[in-house]
Each structure stands twice: as structure tokens, then as C-alpha cells.
């Protein structure tokens, strides 16, 4: 279902209440939100999908659309596809329906305004609507009340409950309402999280002790969440003066032995390029989150794209073998954040965690995730240091050497951005540079050799393979299922470790695939070219690349897998 209306109508609050109630009722669900350029006001919409299994994307068409008004509704026109007999519920007094409402939609005018007025809620009928929708969807009252109480507090909840009940009563009485969702009895207290919250959660669980960031949509809420929770766990959070400071502060804290992180989006990530190289050269562990948005430049701050891939792999001058991880679900956001800290610490390397707005901004109901932080939260491994002997992070013999100042006598070390020898002294000889450049590159081999980073779904023996990364991975999972339902067997592949590349592993998985479709939200087909560079691919590789702004729908991918569709779109990049 979708709910839309101009800002200030409480569309977002309604979405939140619905998904939290659904979670409490034992359902799975997914909530995405779309804003217009206005900071407040302007158009906004949320899309909600509820059911008895987890979802990773919106359906191709909607069962139910709730419209508060029509102002700017045409902006969402592209995203509003009705199912045959999908319902359109709208305020009865708003006048003529706009021309773009498809005729097949079942029209249900409703007197929200009057209902709200009756109880003195005037312009903000959202809680009345909430009550009505709970009845309509079959969400139970008890969980809904609990959700409202948690949200508004004991003091303010009375008023809210009045509105809720008024709406519910009306729906009850209106009779024809009653599309019940399958109520699933469960004991599990499911989580209701956005991808960004999941990253914050992962960081907290991994023992992150320091966060420095600079606000930027759509990454800011990672910092906002940590601002609530990091200090109370003994960590420190700083809003830096810019992204240059943010990454260098994190490097400083990491050198001091704390697990440190920063988070940003494209423009900030570009500014961090030099700092990334410093962390790499000085071998200071670091986690850098990039929640991608539409680029280039300021682009579109509130929408998703996957076009920071090249920058994540290749930004910063010189040879920079860093690690790039990419979650493809909200769950993955939490899990890979923990992994990111572990890898950063173990390899003394910066780890880029590439998320995107579609992951970061959506709310998912998901099963609890066992998140194990590393036992060794502080990076200083005092036990590895024999007093009196300096073991520098650049010492090849010091794989377990302290990565940071230990505060112990004799542990002195100078982190160095110049090329340096194994004891950290600046050294501009070719021999040293050759040795150290190779060591920096090869120390990631163990990681590249790991199994389990490449996810497969669908039919492993299919001759058609579909590969993606990031949030498009979630769409691939659904598209593979949808294709199978239509009788087309597809091997779905999702990469989670983007650098170092794993050509052997992928080759093994690709065995039997005759054609490989590459799905990604990037006009320049960055993933497609990335794959060509680092992997051995089947002889037919077809790019399905298109720019971001709107995530793929499963139907879009399924359709593209048919020869004609693919040939046309892929042509640009082959």
C-alpha cells in the first residue's frame, strides 16, 4: 500500500505507526519513504508492504493507496501502479480525482476531514486514518495502543487514542471494510529498523568507541542514532566541522586504540578521499560508511543510486588496496558493520561500507540478528608487544603488532604518511617502496580467499545468471523468485565483498551460466565495468544498468531477462 499527501499531514508518522503495529502483530513488513525537495511541506509519500514473509522491495503494483490530498501527487505518479481492483481511499471533499488515476482502481471516498473535525483534530486526520486502516488491515487494537503509548508517552497518548478509536469505529461501522492480513502468531519480538539504524546498531555491538561525522542526507541518521546511544555506552561522538576533519578525527581516535567510524554520503565521501589514503598508509583501522544517493555532485540527496562504486574502490591517489563491503539488506547493514570493524582491526586497513539510500532509509520488520562483536574491542594488543621492542604496524613480522599507541613504555611508534620502512622511518628508496607497496596489497589476500561473501539464490544450475550488489541485491532475490514463478530459471548472485575482488570464487559460482545479466543503478554501468576488470565472466554479459532515483522493481528485472528487453538496454555498455 501507499500513503501520500503534502507534508505536514502526518504521512510519515502514519507509516511508522502502521509498521510498528504490524511488527507487534507478528507480521513482516517494509516501509519506504519519498520526499520532495521541500524541507518541510511539499509532497511526501510512504509505501508499506506487510505480510507473512520478509520483503526487500515494493511490489510492482499496489493493493491500496491512501491519499490525503492531490497536491503534487503527480510526482509519485510513476511509482503508483495499482493492482487490478486495487483500492484508492481518499478524502471525499477533495474534488475531482486527477486524470492520472487509472480507471481500474476501486474508488473509496472517505470523510476523514469530518471525522477528524468531530473530535477536534482538524487538519491532521492521520490518527483517525490510522484507526480506520488498522481495522481495514486487521491489525489488532492492543498492539496499536501499545505502539501509540510508546510513541506519544503516557501523558499525550489519550488524545491520540481518541482519534484512533474514532477512526476505527467508523471503519467498523462502514462495514464493507475488512481485508484482513494473515495474522501470524509469534513469540519473537521482531525488530523494526532502518538500514541506517542497523548500521548504528552494528557499530554499537562491535564496540565502536568513537564516531565523528558531518551531517549529510541520507547518512545523517546514523550519527543521530549514535548521538543517542554512543555516549551512554562510554563512547565519544563529535560532529566535525567538515568531512576532512571527520575522517581525520576518526583516524586519530583509532590510532589511540578505539574502534572508530565515520559515515557520510557521496559528496562527503569525495572529500574523504585523502583521509582514506592516510588511514591506508599509516595502517590505522577505520570504518567509513557511504550511504549512496543520486550523483554526481549534489545530485538528488533523498534518492538512491549505486554510482559511488568506482569511488569506493578507486578513490584516493596512488595504490590504495582498501576493503569495500556492501550490504544488500537491512540485516546485512548490521552484520557487515560488525564485520567491517573486525576486518579493519585485523588487517589494519580502512574499510568502506557502501550502503545506499534505499537500504538506509527504509524501515524493515526483521527477525533479531545475533550480532557478535569482537571480543577485542580496543585495538591495542599490549600482549603482543615486548617491552623495549618497537613493532611498527608496517613491520611484516608484526601482523599482530599493536596497531595503535599502547601507552606502554617502549611501544613508541610513529604513524607515517610518507613511504616508510618496517620500523616506520621515512624511506624514499625504490626497494622499500616496492616492498611495502606489495605488502600493503598482499596483506588482503587472506580476506580475498575467504568463502561466503558471494550470495547465491535461485537455481544454481540455470544458464541465465543475474548479478547485483547492494540494495539491488534484494531486488534480485525477489526477481529470481518471481521469474521462477513464471517458469524461468535464474541463478541470482549478490556480491558483498567488492574489494579485494574474488575472481576464483565467482568463477566457480558462474559455472554453467551462459549469459550474465548485470543489474545496477548507475548510468555509467560502474558495476558492469568493475566486473569486467576484476573477474572472469561468461562470454555474454549484458548490462541492465540504469540511473538511480527509483529502485528497481522485481518486474523490471524479470522483464529485462527476456532476450529482447536485455539486448536493447545492454547495448550501450557492451
Amino acid at each position: 500500500m501507499a500513503v501520500f499527501g503534502s507534508g505536514g499531514r502526518g504521512v510519515m508518522l502514519l507509516g511508522d505507526l502502521l509498521i510498528e503495529t504490524a511488527a507487534a502483530c507478528g507480521l513482516y513488513g517494509l516501509l519506504t519513504r519519498t520526499y520532495g525537495p521541500e524541507v518541510r511541506g511539499g509532497e511526501s509519500a510512504c509505501f508499506l508492504r506487510l505480510g507473512s514473509r520478509p520483503f526487500e522491495m515494493m511490489p510492482d503494483a499496489l493493493d491500496l493507496v491512501v491519499a490525503f490530498d492531490w497536491s503534487n501527487g503527480e510526482h509519485f505518479q510513476q511509482e503508483l501502479q495499482f493492482k487490478p481492483n486495487g483500492w484508492l481511499i481518499y478524502e471525499e471533499t477533495v474534488g475531482d480525482l486527477p486524470h492520472w488515476i487509472p480507471p481500474e482502481a476501486v474508488r473509496c471516498p472517505v470523510p476523514w476531514k469530518r471525522l477528524a473535525d468531530e473530535i477536534g483534530f482538524g487538519a491532521r486526520p492521520n490518527l483517525v486514518v490510522f484507526g480506520a486502516l488498522c481495522r481495514l488491515l486487521g491489525l489488532e487494537d492492543e498492539p496499536a495502543r501499545a505502539v501509540m503509548t510508546a510513541r506519544f508517552g503516557e501523558r499525550d497518548v489519550e488524545l491520540a487514542l481518541r482519534a484512533f478509536e474514532h477512526g476505527a469505529a467508523w471503519a467498523q461501522q462502514a462495514g464493507k471494510w475488512g481485508r484482513r492480513l494473515p495474522a501470524v502468531a509469534t513469540d519473537v519480538r521482531r525488530w523494526v529498523l532502518t538500514g541506517n539504524e542497523a548500521i548504528a546498531l552494528g557499530a554499537l555491538q562491535a564496540g565502536c568507541g568513537f564516531f565523528s561525522g558531518y551531517p549529510i542526507t541520507p547518512a545523517t541518521d546514523i550519527m543521530e542514532a549514535l548521538s543517542r546511544h554512543l555516549p551512554e555506552r562510554g563512547g565519544v561522538l563529535v560532529q566535525a566541522e567538515d568531512e576532512l576533519a571527520a575522517i581525520n578525527m576518526a583516524i586519530g581516535a583509532s590510532f589511540a586504540g578505539k574502534r572508530a567510524m565515520t559515515a557520510t554520503s557521496g559528496p562527503g565521501f569525495s572529500l574523504m578521499a585523502e583521509g582514506l589514503g592516510l588511514a591506508l598508509m599509516a595502517e590505522v583501522p577505520l570504518v567509513v560508511v557511504d550511504v549512496q544517493r543520486v550523483g554526481p555532485s549534489t545530485g538528488i540527496a533523498t534518492k538512491t543510486e549505486q554510482a559511488d562504486l568506482w569511488a569506493a574502490v578507486a578513490s584516493s591517489h596512488g595504490d590504495n588496496p582498501r576493503v569495500v563491503l556492501a550490504p544488500s539488506s537491512v540485516r546485512g547493514c548490521a552484520e557487515l558493520t560488525v564485520r567491517a570493524f573486525d576486518i579493519a582491526g585485523a588487517y589494519r586497513v580502512p574499510v568502506v561500507l557502501l550502503s545506499d539510500q534505499f537500504l538506509g532509509g527504509r524501515v524493515e520488520i526483521l527477525d533479531p540478528i545475533p550480532l557478535e562483536g569482537m571480543d577485542r574491542c580496543e585495538q591495542t594488543a599490549d600482549e603482543h608487544m615486548e617491552a623495549g621492542r618497537r613493532v611498527h604496524p608496517s613491520d611484516p613480522g608484526g601482523a599482530d603488532a599493536p596497531t595503535a599507541l599502547s601507552g606502554r613504555p617502549g611501544g613508541d611508534c610513529v604513524a607515517e604518511s610518507l613511504e616508510h620502512d618496517s620500523s616506520g622511518r621515512p624511506d624514499s628508496s625504490f626497494r622499500t617502496h616496492q616492498f611495502q607497496a606489495r605488502r600493503r596489497r598482499e596483506k588482503l589476500q587472506a580476506l580475498a580467499g575467504e568463502e561466503g561473501w558471494i550470495e547465491c539464490c535461485g537455481d544454481a544450475s540455470a544458464s541465465v545468471a543475474l548479478i547485483a550488489w547492494g540494495s539491488t541485491g534484494g531486488v534480485v532475490r525477489e526477481a529470481v523468485r518471481a521469474a521462477e514463478a513464471q517458469g524461468t530459471k535464474v541463478k541470482g548472485i549478490i556480491l558483498h565483498l567488492l574489494f579485494p575482488a574474488q575472481p576464483e570464487q565467482l568463477e566457480r559460482i558462474l559455472q554453467g551460466a551462459e549469459v550474465l545479466y548485470v543489474a545496477e543503478l548507475s548510468s555509467m554501468a560502474q558495476f558492469f565495468y568493475y566486473l569486467r576488470a576484476f573477474y572472469r565472466l561468461p562470454s555474454r554479459v549484458v548490462s541492465l544498468a540504469r540511473p538511480g532515483g527509483i529502485p528497481y522493481r522485481a518486474g523490471e528485472l524479470v522483464e529485462a531477462l527476456t532476450a529482447t528487453g536485455a539486448a536493447i538496454r545492454g547495448a550501450q555498455h557492451e
Binding site: 529498523l193 568507541g209 565523528s212 543517542r228 565519544v236 578505539k258 583521509g275 604518511s417 610518507l418 621515512p426
Partner: protein
């Protein structure tokens, strides 16, 4: 070995074994010496402090001293030092950088470190030139001077570093010179002991690219008054003598920056706009408690 003997460490014991790359006669030698003297005077153990720098002749400092050091990138020494200090407030964090690092590319960090009153000691070796890159304009190069990039003479009025430090909020503001390492050492020791952002601007001439600055020796005057608590008075004093007055101009106490951390929470936490994470963390907390 008992504690007495440890604290009897001499200045020269703070030198590392690395030979400075500096030109003979470079002012930075004086600063190096003064730092070792200050450390000796404060009886610091090498593991009690960290030297953080950027890139430049002056920024080579960490390598020449015993102890932990961070030779980072050009202009970003202060953020590195800030992150470090926030999580290791037990250490003395000393930033040793050049005029380009501090006031050129790093100007914004200087501003905000001062505003926040980050508890580090910022030693700026001001040679009024970009020396490491062989003699280009610096924000402190005098107006009209010919440099490699202002071959027709600079048209930029120089920055007034101490005015800036004071306006931005530094709580310890001093100027010294490299050729009087003892007096410099005294100021360094005071600056290290000061709680808050201490700026020590050191005239440290570059003999190679600004040989004319040898004449600074004759032009400086020590300001021997007590440091004031009055901002505008300090500014006036710092501006005197064409900015060549030396001494400690300003020192005040003000809470040091600790970042957002539990310690500082006097305000009640506002309600979260979304409850998801709070609920999960609460649940995780419970289950952890059960284990």
C-alpha cells in the same frame, strides 16, 4: 630503578635516533630542542605524550622525538589530535606544524579546535613561507614579498595568527621564537600544562627560502606582562610591535572539549522520533543481562 631516576631524564634523552633532514641553521632545530627541554622540565615519560603533525619541514618533528607520533597529511593534524585526545584524555597531545599547515590548508580546523577548546598544545613553527615545497607564498608571508608563486610580489596581506586564535576562542595564546629555546621551552611547558587549546606561535626562520628573516632577531620584543584574561586587551597586546612582540598574551580557564559523551549530559534525552533502535537496544540489553 626507582621513580626518581626515571624522572631525571635529560632533555637530550627525548631525541629519537633519526637525523633531522633540516638545513643547517633552520629554526626548527631550536623548537626541537625547546620541546625536549620542556619535556624534561615536566618530567614526561615518552609514553605520556603524542606528537601529531601534518606535512612540511616543521611537521617532521614527530620522527625526531622519542615517544608516540603521528606524521599525517597536510593540514589535518588538528583533527587527528582532536580524535586522539578525546579518547585518551590522559595523554598530552602536542601538535607541531608549520604556518601553511596551521593557517593555510588547515585554517578551518584551527578555528574550530580553538572554538571548542580542544585540550591540545598547538605549536606553529611559522617561517612565513612554504618551505618543504621550496619557497611559495604562505598566509603569513609579508605583503609585497617575492616568492616562487608571487614573482611579481605578494598582493595578500598576511594573516594575524594570534588575533585569529583569540577571536576563535583559544584559551592560551603565546608567541615565541626559535632562537631563544629556553624561553620557548618555558612557554611550551606552560602550554602543555594548560587545560584547553594552547596556541604557541613560534617564529622559526627558514634560512634557505627566507634568509632575510635573520633580521627578525633584532626586531622582536618580549612582552613580559602577566597574561590577561581580557580578550580585547590580549588582542591589542598581540598586535603591538607589528606582530613581533613575544610572550604569553592570554590565558583563561574554560571547560575543555570532550565531544558528546556521557559526562556532559545535563539535558534530558529528547524522545526519539523513531523507536525502532531504542527498542532493539533495550531488548538486547535485557537479554545480555540474562546471560
Amino acid at each position: 630503578m626507582n621513580k626518581r631516576i626515571v624522572s631525571a631524564r635529560q632533555a637530550k634523552d627525548y631525541l629519537s635516533t633519526l637525523k633531522p633532514i633540516w638545513c643547517p641553521g633552520c629554526g626548527d632545530f631550536g623548537v626541537l630542542n625547546a620541546l625536549t627541554m620542556a619535556f624534561a622540565r615536566l618530567a614526561l615519560k615518552p609514553e605520556q605524550y603524542v606528537i601529531v603533525s601534518g606535512i612540511g619541514c616543521s611537521s617532521r618533528m614527530p620522527g625526531y622525538l622519542q615517544g608516540y607520533g603521528f606524521h599525517g597529511i597536510h593540514g589535518r593534524a588538528l583533527p587527528v589530535a582532536t580524535g586522539l585526545k578525546l579518547v585518551r584524555s590522559d595523554l598530552d597531545v602536542i601538535v607541531t606544524i608549520g604556518d601553511g599547515d596551521a593557517y593555510g590548508i588547515g585554517g578551518n580546523h584551527f578555528l574550530h579546535a580553538a572554538r571548542r577548546n580542544v585540550d591540545v598544545t598547538c605549536v606553529v613553527m611559522d617561517n612565513r613561507i612554504y618551505a618543504m615545497t621550496k619557497g611559495q607564498l604562505s598566509p603569513t608571508t609579508p605583503l609585497g614579498d617575492v616568492t616562487a608563486t608571487t614573482q611579481g610580489g605578494s598582493v595578500e596581506p598576511p594573516l594575524r595568527p594570534l588575533l585569529l586564535a583569540l577571536a576563535a576562542g583559544a584559551t592560551f595564546v603565546a608567541r615565541a621564537c626559535s632562537w631563544e629555546p629556553k624561553r620557548l621551552a618555558t612557554l611550551l611547558a606552560q602550554g602543555i600544562r594548560h587545560r584547553g587549546f594552547a596556541v604557541i606561535e613560534v617564529l622559526s626562520p627558514c634560512v634557505t627560502f627566507r634568509p632575510e628573516d635573520r633580521t627578525l632577531r633584532e626586531r622582536v620584543v618580549w612582552h613580559d606582562r602577566e597574561p590577561t584574561h581580557d580578550l580585547l586587551e590580549a588582542m591589542q597586546a598581540a598586535l603591538e610591535g607589528d606582530g613581533l612582540t613575544l610572550g604569553l598574551f592570554y590565558q583563561v580557564g574554560r571547560p575543555v572539549f570532550c565531544g558528546e559523551s556521557e559526562v556532559h549530559r545535563e539535558v534530558p534525552m529528547p524522545k526519539s522520533p523513531r523507536r525502532g533502535l531504542d527498542a532493539v537496544l533495550a531488548a538486547l540489553g535485557e537479554s545480555a543481562a540474562q546471560d
